[in-house]
């Protein structure tokens, strides 16, 4: 990434040169950007993600607000 310097006002010192923003602009581009689901590479990871990430339905040891209730 190319670093950019910017001139900014500093109290009592007039304008000073500081390092500018170092982040990429937040606009996604291209179909692949943001496609996080491809990170799950194989069946084991997919099922593990369901048990943990989607634990509300597929976790065996986590029932959230419904943990005190008997199954309907």
């Amino acid at each position: 990434m190319e670093y950019k310097n910017e001139k900014k006002e500093a109290p009592g010192r007039g304008k000073v040169e500081v390092l500018g923003a170092t982040y990429e602009e937040g606009k996604p581009c291209g179909e692949e950007t943001g496609r996080w689901r491809q990170k799950l590479r194989n069946r084991r990871e997919q099922l593990q993600y369901l048990a943990e990430g989607e634990r509300y339905w597929y976790g065996k040891d986590w029932f959230g607000s419904e943990k005190r209730r008997n199954p309907a």
Binding site: K27, C29, R35, R37, L50, W57, S65
Partner: protein, 656 residues
């Protein structure tokens, strides 16, 4: 432009095209709505057309309160009361809406099964992870089986849901446990999708169910067969086939049409053909053909819910929502409009004739006089798609000089499926709704609203959607949207992260900034309202906000509704525990008793009720008041000091 014209839409591009249509002497839905007033008796549900002894009209007395004598006389030839007539009409709307969403779900299931069996070349299972998820929902064995083997079983299970005769729909198990108990206690858990639609039609036919509570019980059951059945099957299987939506940048409004390219507008609801059109438009031979005809490329743009489907998965731009379908043709720049099913105006062939546009129907279920028909065959989908594109390309040189493409187009970020929201709030290793619930509990986010539904020519295009959504986010309510309503917000620039700082209250804006999301989330097409049900369920299951959807500080709305599908959606929102306000008009006000059942008694039965308020800002405030009521019930209406427990206090707790 006259003030009356300006009131037709709040969108500049639409106003420009309205003016052009006027100059071109083209009649639009806007004009017809101004000339033809709605029938005042049918509008409130007081007209019965169920048999040939009628139609019977049972209107309320004009300008005075109904007396017992009036009420006794308000009966059809068969003796049907105003309550029975209004309830039958209302339940039939639910049945029709359920049928529409569910037949979409069936078409997706058929394609899914054909793909799994290798009989639909060009389609594939794109989201294996989602396949595993639905396999678990349906109780399909996974083990070491191949994707195709699992998919065939999932497809067969999905198809069986439509013809199921007894038991319960499989997706009902995804609802909060308490909600499932309510449905069972009330006897409204749907058995099979088709069965509930058929029974609703039977019970509303002449001389059958004559008790409005009982009629509505079937209405509720049919609506649940939509939200937790047909619509959910459509959403889930489309995700497996075409990919679960993830955030994607898109653009919206008539300005996405291009001067120098072949413009093809894909309009309707089912993404089966449009997915293939998106692939075929990349074909070298097709692009070469377009260039030979003088175009510099092919420009696909969506309209209505098909647009939402292909936007969410490919970032293909949106030309507009329901009330802009005629206006797209008025630009004179559309070389072909391809339609499938639902929300397609019959006026399109007449308008297409005024310009050079080829109107192409593709579904055997929906043909139009004056349109060309190229039937979509899922077994030869790529060939069908290329044939459609060739017709459009061949038509490009016929484009006349009467062309005006408005400049307006707006950026938006779409693709907020439940899975993506869960991921965005916690990442791959700790995905969770906890940050959302925490911020609701701490008050940065006041609540969550689902604002969905159509456009309606009886009210200013997009006006109510935008007024309502702005009022909600200003008051720190996170808004989830689908369908034409989502497109309205996108046009107004509410679906980019920057909108949070500009329009949202300080609390909501701070959360949006931290997560990097807009204050208004695009969740997809109208069948994707099932995503909102799942998101609400995740909020319940994460904990801290009660143990049912009806405990959550949430509300729903359809401020510009027009379709029967919207009534089905609203009814399954209510039956799932979401207070829901509709605008424009309300189809049961001809019966006070039925309206009381829907607006009051339902709260005791289902924990949520319908409401009606045509003023969008007032409606938003009703939603906020409901959210506040729920916050109070949860005890999160005021900040509480954290209490550090010492040993003595802990012993007291244990003693309890």
């Amino acid at each position: 432009m006259a003030d009356s014209e300006k009131k037709k839409s709040i969108d500049k591009a639409s106003l420009e095209m309205l003016e052009k249509a006027c100059g071109d002497n083209v009649s639009l839905a806007f004009d017809r709505a101004a000339v033809m007033k709605p029938c005042p008796i049918g509008e409130v549900g007081n007209c019965c057309i169920m048999c040939s002894m009628g139609p019977c009209r049972v209107p309320l007395p004009k300008g005075r309160k109904e007396t017992p004598e009036d009420k006794r006389k308000r009966r059809g030839v068969c003796g049907a009361t105003a309550e029975t007539i209004a309830a039958r009409n209302f339940v039939r709307k639910i049945a029709a809406g359920t049928a529409a969403h569910s037949d979409h779900g069936r078409a997706v299931s058929e394609l899914f099964l054909a793909t799994a069996k290798g009989q639909a070349p060009g389609y594939e299972i794109r989201d294996e992870q989602k396949l595993m998820q639905v396999a678990l929902d349906f109780g399909v064995e996974i083990g070491e089986r191949t994707i195709e083997e699992i998919a065939v079983d999932v497809g067969n299970k999905a198809m069986a849901e439509f013809g199921r005769q007894e038991g319960e729909l499989l997706f009902l198990k995804k609802a909060p446990l308490k909600r499932q108990e309510i449905w069972r206690k009330e006897g409204v858990a749907p058995r099979g999708i088709d069965r509930e639609v058929v029974e609703a039609m039977h019970r509303t036919s002449a001389g059958v169910d004559q008790e409005y509570h009982n009629l509505m019980r079937q209405g509720v059951r049919a609506s649940l067969a939509d939200g937790w059945g047909g619509s959910m099957i459509a959403t889930e299987l489309q995700d497996i086939l075409f990919g679960t939506p993830t955030p994607v940048l898109g653009q919206i409004n008539l300005g996405v049409l291009k001067d120098n390219e072949v413009n093809i507008v894909i309009h309707g609801h089912e993404p089966l053909l449009s997915e293939m059109l998106a692939a075929a438009a990349q074909d070298k031979d097709i692009i070469k053909l377009a260039k030979e005809k003088g175009a510099s490329g092919i420009n696909l743009a969506g309209m209505c819910c098909t647009a939402n489907e292909i936007l969410m998965r490919h970032g293909i731009p949106l030309a507009g929502n329901f009330m802009q379908q005629e206006l797209a043709l008025v630009t004179g720049a559309v070389d072909a409009m391809v339609v499938d099913v639902q929300c397609i105006m019959e006026s399109l062939p007449d308008i297409a004739q005024c310009y050079h546009t080829k109107l192409i129907t593709t579904s055997a279920k929906a043909m139009m006089p004056g349109a060309m028909h190229i039937e979509f065959d899922e077994h030869k989908a790529m060939e069908s798609a290329k044939e459609v594109l060739r017709v459009a390309i061949d038509n490009f040189p016929r484009r006349g000089t009467n062309v005006a493409i408005p400049k307006q187009k707006t950026d938006l970020i779409a693709g907020f499926s439940h899975e993506t929201v869960n991921y965005l709030l916690g990442g791959l290793f700790r995905s969770s709704y906890r940050p959302l619930n925490d911020n609701i509990i701490n008050g940065r986010i006041r609540g969550v609203a689902g604002v969905v539904g159509c456009n309606n020519a009886r009210v200013g295009h997009n006006e109510a959607h935008i007024a309502m959504v702005k009022e909600l986010i200003k008051n720190d309510v996170l808004v989830l949207q689908t369908g034409c309503s989502a497109m309205a917000s996108a046009m107004a620039g509410l679906m980019v992260p920057e909108a949070a700082a500009k329009y949202a209250g300080a609390g909501l804006a701070s959360v949006c900034e931290a997560v990097g999301i807009p204050p208004v989330l695009h969740m997809g097409s109208c069948v994707d309202n099932s995503r909102i049900l799942i998101a609400a369920t995740a909020m319940v299951k994460d904990g801290g906000l009660g143990d049912d959807i009806s405990d959550l500080p949430v509300a729903g709305a359809g401020p510009e509704w027009m379709s029967e599908k919207a009534i089905a959606i609203g009814q399954y929102f209510v039956a799932s525990g979401v207070y829901t306000v509709f605008g424009v008009t309300w189809p049961t006000t001809g019966s006070q008793e039925l309206t009381d059942l829907l607006f009051k008694e339902f709260e005791d039965i289902y924990g949520a009720m319908w409401d009606f308020e045509p003023d969008a800002v007032k409606a938003a405030n009703l939603m906020i008041a409901h959210i506040d009521k729920k916050r109070k019930a949860l005890g999160i209406d005021k900040a509480r000091d954290r209490v550090l427990y010492d040993m003595e206090m802990r012993r007291e707790l244990e003693a309890v």
